[in-house]
Symmetry: C2
Amino acid sequence: MLDSDLVAQHRQELRRGSTSLACLALLATTPDYGYNLLGRLAELGFEIEANTLYPLLRRLDKQGLLTFAWDTSDARPRKVYSTSPEGVELVALLREDWDRISQALHQIGQDS
Amino acid sequence: MLDSDLVAQHRQELRRGSTSLACLALLATTPDYGYNLLGRLAELGFEIEANTLYPLLRRLDKQGLLTFAWDTSDARPRKVYSTSPEGVELVALLREDWDRISQALHQIGQDS
């Protein structure tokens, strides 16, 4: 019997890198608030909690992969994130990696 | 300009979870020594060093996802790893996850 904690751990590990990629790709198409991004990620099946996403966005911002502007139209100013040119470049690289890994994974069991 | 360390870090993060999956899938088709597995992974494009792979195999063994037998035909006994039934189960789950994430990633930029 597979232990459910163990499954959760491996699934999380598998998903981790792809979450950064998904954020960068989504914010390259449409800049957004963290809160809205949560919803867009969830729609795509990326279940991530706010307290995981917000630090990730700050990390990607520090790395220069995201930029943000303050939206002050509301009582409480909110950060609107968008993907930087470097972030867009990274998205392209990571997509290539992802596709290469996908191909490799599909190959296993077919001829190896 | 994208910083090459940063790119390496993100690529590694993207690959990390898939390496466990690749090992489990490969050792489900054909049991193997760690050293041979390195070569099979490299052929598939998974560049992983021995000092990263060996601890990973020990971890997967401790988690009950791999089992091993000693091959004593040589002067120096060697572990031959194979994927346990639980590991095979996990491979199926993680492959589903991977395909779901792939679909989601391909969707981004097309309609979101």
